[in-house]
C-alpha cells in the first residue's frame, strides 16, 4: 500500500495544476464529472503522468479510467 500512497502523493499535485474548480482530490474524484475536464485537458494531463512515471497509458487504457483511484491503480500496475 505504501507504493499506492506514494503514487497518489505524486499524482495529486499534477491534478491540482488542472483543477480550476478547486475540487477536493480523493480516490473517488472523477475526471469528466467532478473535475469537468475536456478531452484536451485529459490529453495534457495524461502526457504529464506518463512523463512523470516513465510509462505509457494507451488510449485503450485511458477509456477505462474514470476516477483518481483507478488512475493510481493503473500507474502502480504499469510501473510494476
Amino acid at each position: 500500500m505504501t507504493d499506492r500512497t506514494e503514487i497518489f502523493a505524486t499524482v495529486a499535485p499534477l491534478i491540482e495544476r488542472f483543477n480550476k474548480k478547486g475540487v477536493a482530490i480523493t480516490d473517488a474524484t472523477t475526471f469528466a464529472g467532478d473535475l469537468e475536464w475536456d478531452s484536451l485537458t485529459v490529453m495534457d494531463f495524461v502526457a504529464e503522468i506518463e512523463d512523470e512515471f516513465d510509462i505509457i497509458i494507451t488510449m485503450n487504457m485511458q477509456a477505462e479510467i474514470e476516477n483518481v483511484g483507478q488512475l493510481v491503480d493503473a500507474v502502480a500496475k504499469l510501473k510494476g
Binding site: S39, L40, E50, D54, T58, M59, N60
Partner: protein
C-alpha cells in the same frame, strides 16, 4: 435521443442569432472549380479541397461520360467479387505510375482508406502511434482495430521518440503521420519523424491527402518534398481533393501489400466505386503527373493570399504559406460566425471550423486555394477579407 439535446440547443442558439447556418450550405449551381451560386448569389469558392481545379477538366469529364456509356452507372458489388471493372485496374495502374510504387489499392473513400489500412495493419498486441491532431479517419481506424493506441504531441519529434522508446521492443509498431494537417495547414517534419520511427523499428504510414499534386518534384506529397520516399512504408491518399472526384487509396512498395485486399474489411464489405468515378480519377491522375504550371500557380496563389492577410493583421495558422490551406484564427465562435457571414454576404465561401475538429479549442475560417483561382479573384478575396475584418472588428 436525449444525448443530442446539448448539440441541438447549441445549433439552435447559433441560428437564433440570425446567421446563415454554416453547416447547411447548398451549392445551387457550380460554374467552375472556383465559382458557385449559393442562395441565388454568385460566390467565389475558397473553402473546397479542389486544389488542382480538375473537376471541370474536359478530358476528365469525357473519361467519365465514356465510362458511363460503356460500363453503366454502378458496379453493384465489392471489389473482391463482381465490383472490379477495367477502370478500377486502370486507376490503380495510374496510381502506381504517379507514385512510382509496386502496389496500389483503391478504396471507396479516403476515410475508408485510413479506416481500412490502420485497422488491418496493426493487430492485437501491436501498437499504433499517432499525432494528437490526426484526422478523424485516423482515430476511427484506431478504434476499428485491436491494437494498442498511443498518442504523441502534435509534430513533436522528441515526444514521438520518448513514447516509442517506452514501448516493448519486440512489439509491432505503426507510426501514423500526415504530410499536411488540414485544420491549420501546417506541415509535418516528416524527415525527422520518419527517422525516429525507423530507429525504433516502426513502420510508417503517411496520409498525403492535402499535398497530392503539388508537393515534391513529382507532386507525390510532403514525404517526397522532404526526401523520405525510401522510408515511408504506406502512403494514404484521396480522390476527393486534388484528383477532383471521390475515393481513397493506399500505395506501397511492401512485397506483401496485396494481402491487404484479402483481410481488410472496409475494402471487402462495401461496394466499389462507380465506373465513371474511377475513369475520371484515372484521367485526372495522369494529367496531375505533369501539371507543372498548375502547381506553380497554386503556390503563387497561396503566397499572395497568405502575405495579403498577414499584412492586414489577421492571425494565421502558419507563419509562412506552408501549404494550400490558410487558416484565419478568430477569438471565439461568435466572432468566427460573424466574420464567416460577412464574407458569405459579400460573395465568398470559406470553411468555418470549430472544436472538436480544430486543435487547442480554436475557431477558424479556413481558406483553401485552387490552381484555377485567377490573380484577380485573389485580389477580390483580399478586399472582401479586409472589409469583413474591419466591419466585425477583427482587424483595425
Amino acid at each position: 435521443m436525449s444525448k443530442f439535446d446539448g448539440l441541438i440547443a447549441e445549433r439552435q442558439a447559433l441560428i437564433d442569432t440570425g446567421v446563415t447556418d454554416p453547416f447547411a450550405i447548398v451549392m445551387e449551381k457550380v460554374k467552375s472549380p472556383t465559382e458557385a451560386v449559393i442562395a441565388g448569389k454568385d460566390t467565389i469558392l475558397l473553402g473546397t479541397y479542389n486544389y488542382m481545379g480538375m473537376t471541370f477538366d474536359p478530358d476528365v469529364i469525357q473519361a467519365g461520360k465514356d465510362a458511363l456509356d460503356q460500363f453503366g452507372s454502378g458496379t453493384n458489388g465489392s471489389r473482391m467479387l463482381n465490383g472490379t471493372f477495367r477502370d478500377h485496374m486502370e486507376v490503380e495502374q495510374a496510381l502506381r505510375d504517379f507514385y512510382g510504387t509496386t502496389g496500389a489499392i483503391v478504396f471507396s473513400t479516403g476515410y475508408m482508406a485510413n479506416l481500412g489500412m490502420i485497422s488491418t495493419l496493426a493487430g492485437k498486441g501491436e501498437y499504433v502511434i499517432l499525432d494528437a491532431d490526426s484526422h478523424a479517419s485516423i482515430y476511427d481506424g484506431c478504434k476499428q482495430g485491436y491494437a494498442e493506441i498511443v498518442r504523441f504531441r502534435h509534430n513533436d519529434i522528441n515526444d514521438l521518440d520518448k513514447r516509442l522508446g517506452r514501448l516493448p521492443k519486440e512489439a509491432g509498431k505503426l507510426v501514423v503521420l500526415e504530410g499536411v494537417y488540414s485544420m491549420l495547414g501546417d506541415i509535418a517534419p516528416l524527415k525527422e519523424m520518419v527517422a525516429i520511427a525507423k530507429k525504433h523499428g516502426a513502420m510508417v504510414l503517411s496520409d498525403e491527402a492535402h499535398s497530392m499534386g503539388f508537393f515534391g518534384p513529382n507532386g507525390r506529397g510532403v514525404y517526397e518534398a522532404q526526401g523520405c520516399e525510401g522510408d515511408v512504408d504506406f502512403i494514404v491518399g484521396t480522390f476527393s481533393k486534388s484528383v477532383g472526384t471521390v475515393g481513397g487509396f493506399c500505395v506501397s512498395n511492401h512485397p506483401k501489400f496485396e494481402a491487404i485486399r484479402l483481410a481488410c474489411r472496409p475494402y471487402i464489405f462495401t461496394a466499389s466505386l462507380p465506373p465513371s468515378v474511377v475513369a475520371t480519377a484515372a484521367a485526372s491522375i495522369r494529367k496531375l503527373q505533369f501539371a507543372h504550371n498548375k502547381r506553380q500557380h497554386l503556390w503563387e496563389n497561396a503566397r499572395t493570399l497568405h502575405g495579403g492577410l498577414k499584412a492586414m493583421g489577421f492571425e494565421l495558422g502558419t507563419e509562412n504559406p506552408d501549404s494550400a490551406i490558410i487558416a484565419v484564427i478568430l477569438k471565439d465562435q461568435e466572432q468566427a460566425v460573424m466574420m464567416w457571414q460577412a464574407l458569405l454576404d459579400s460573395g465568398l465561401y470559406v470553411n468555418m471550423a470549430r472544436p472538436p475538429a480544430t486543435p487547442a479549442g480554436t475557431f477558424l475560417l479556413r481558406c483553401s486555394l485552387c490552381a484555377e483561382h485567377t490573380p484577380e479573384q485573389i485580389q477580390k478575396v483580399l478586399g472582401m477579407f479586409k472589409a469583413a475584418g474591419q466591419a466585425v472588428g477583427v482587424i483595425a
